[in-house]
């Protein structure tokens, strides 16, 4: 049957993802970051209902006689200015903060990648138009714009996500365009064309699939960035609105009452600590992923 006379043995196979995992595991800080992120997600989504079940504290119940309580067996982190349990609020607020970070990072990377790949693949006036639009979006002063838009649409979860996506995709678009420009002249793209693959297939299966390394890294870093962004807007009172907690508005409330009589200055510590460690973990993980996915990559 075979025309050729030689067949060859190959060494045992290591898939791409196996190699990525081997390299990632060597990056201690990234492993730490990944562990912290997994712990946070578990604590917020699975831990919260357990905490409610075992201690009976949820994130809205107020106890105005027990304000600023010190940590105790009943309230592990104490209570806030309205006598609400801080652990419950931190855990539930973590859900909100992480969800904002995750959804907006993923949505902006999808939009940014599509714009980037279309721009690079077609080139010419399409590229020119899309990239100038990207430049315009990038040159907008975003903090004042965030404030105006948050006011205009009414602050809330989806407004926040919408704003982060609307002003978060440009970096991804430029990144993907750059990678695709260098990929699109490779012969495997021409081979796909010669085979009769559609433009869409070439863009998604050949160009984007090969740009995954920088895309994943950039998304991870964007998650951390968006969590901070949520905190910033909530701190200014234009993010997540109470009574729904988020790490940003817990921090804001805590800071507001820091010098109030009979207050609890330690209350700013909890949201600050969780924000800090989560965002740091995302950055460590992004760093490790960059080294693991493609050792030559520079972002």
């Amino acid at each position: 049957m075979a025309v050729a006379d030689v067949t060859v043995e190959l060494a045992p196979s290591f898939s791409y993802w196996q190699m990525v995992w081997t390299r990632f595991r060597k990056h201690k800080l990234a492993m730490f970051g990944g562990a912290v992120i997994i712990f946070m997600i578990l604590a917020c989504y699975a831990g919260y209902p357990l905490y409610v079940y075992f201690t009976g504290n949820d994130y809205v119940s107020q106890d105005l006689t027990g304000r600023y309580a010190l940590p105790s067996a009943q309230h592990w982190f104490g209570t806030d200015d309205l006598g609400r349990d801080v652990v419950a609020r931190i855990l539930y607020g973590g859900r909100v903060s992480i969800a904002v970070g995750f959804i907006s990072a993923v949505a902006s990377v999808v939009i940014g990648s599509l714009i980037g790949v279309v721009s690079a693949f077609f080139g010419g006036w399409i590229d020119e138009a899309l990239m100038r639009f990207t430049d315009v979006m990038m040159s907008l002063p975003y903090i004042p714009l965030y404030l105006v838009l948050a006011m205009a649409f009414g602050p809330g979860f989806w407004t926040l996500v919408g704003i982060f996506v609307a002003f978060g995709w440009m970096g991804d678009a430029r990144l993907v365009r750059g990678v695709v420009l260098s990929l699109k002249n490779m012969e495997f793209v021409e081979a796909a064309k010669a085979v009769g693959a559609s433009n869409w297939r070439i863009m998604v299966r050949h160009l984007l699939l090969n740009s995954m390394a920088p895309i994943i890294v950039s998304t991870t870093l964007a998650m951390g960035g968006n969590i901070v962004g949520e905190a910033a807007l909530s701190y200014l009172g234009l993010g997540i609105q109470p009574p729904l907690p988020s790490w940003g508005n817990i921090l804001q409330t805590a800071a507001e009452y820091i010098f109030a009589p009979g207050n609890g200055p330690w209350l700013i510590f909890y949201p600050g600590f969780f924000l800090f460690i989560t965002v740091l973990s995302f950055n460590f993980m992004g760093d490790g992923l960059r080294d693991a996915l493609d050792p030559r990559l520079k972002i």
């Binding site: 075979a2 021409e190 081979a191 085979v195």
Partner: protein
Amino acid sequence: MEDIKQNQDTVFIKVNNLVKYFPIIRGIIGRHVGDVKAVDGVSFEIPKGKTLGLVGESGSGKTTVGRTILRLMEPTRGEVWFEGKNVFKMKPHELRVLRRDMQIIFQDPFGSLNPRFPVGDIIGEPLLVHGIGTRKEREERVKELMEIVGLRPEYLRRYPHEFSGGQRQRIGIARALAMNPKFIVADEPVSALDVSIQSQIINLLIELQGRFNLTYLFIAHDLAVVKHMSDRVAVMYLGKLMETANNEDLFGNPLHPYTQALLSAVPVPDPDVKKQRIILQGDIPSPINPPKGCVFHTRCRYRFEPCDKEIPEPVDVGNNHIVWCHLIARQI
């Protein structure tokens, strides 16, 4: 020129006066300041089941000829007839159908395979794209193709980086064969490989040609390989044909001074044979501003007065041996 006009429909592949210029754009207003004349009026035909070897040094436009025939690049002018149909007039959906019949094997076995696809997906991509068979049937076909080109079907799920250069080239060949094409452009398929592997791939290509009645446009700069593979040979220089002839005529009786120089550079594996090498002076001129008249005159040993003014007409010296040279034209 007579042979170019007749039997438009009967010849399998026919290329008429193919021209490909790459425009040079300068400045922010996109001023058109010139053209890279990569291919400048090339005509040839290939009968079914035969191989045309296209030779020339780097930058002579031979790769561009292959890509334009397949419409991987849009031509500037000219016609390509494939089984009586004008390839350059085809609409996108007709072109998709044509892609089943015309395929390409690439030079670089590392760049031509998507590094994130398992080998089975690479070879099966044409089948998937054209919606052939079920997943199971496609996998069977992929395994069959792997066997045909001498790869173990068990390696279906391996990735390209796990294979050597020669094996990767086999993967590329299997992909080209997937849709049972009639015509294959082989764009320097062996020049990136070790010499020991080259012969394996060449023999594979020859055997496949016999088995599937394939027609090849074999692009190469290695004359020994072309001599081994081709029924007919075309020599290109700076976007134009210099000489085309049947294999024995071109290698036995090269007429164009450029062909003679190329052939004199081929090493002979016999230390007793003393060969006179013709060393070409200078470099290949820029295709942006090619020499007037005969493009080869700046490096030609025999140039005389019409060479730098008039473009030579093709001369048939018999047995369809065509030369574009004033000297030969005068001798006849």
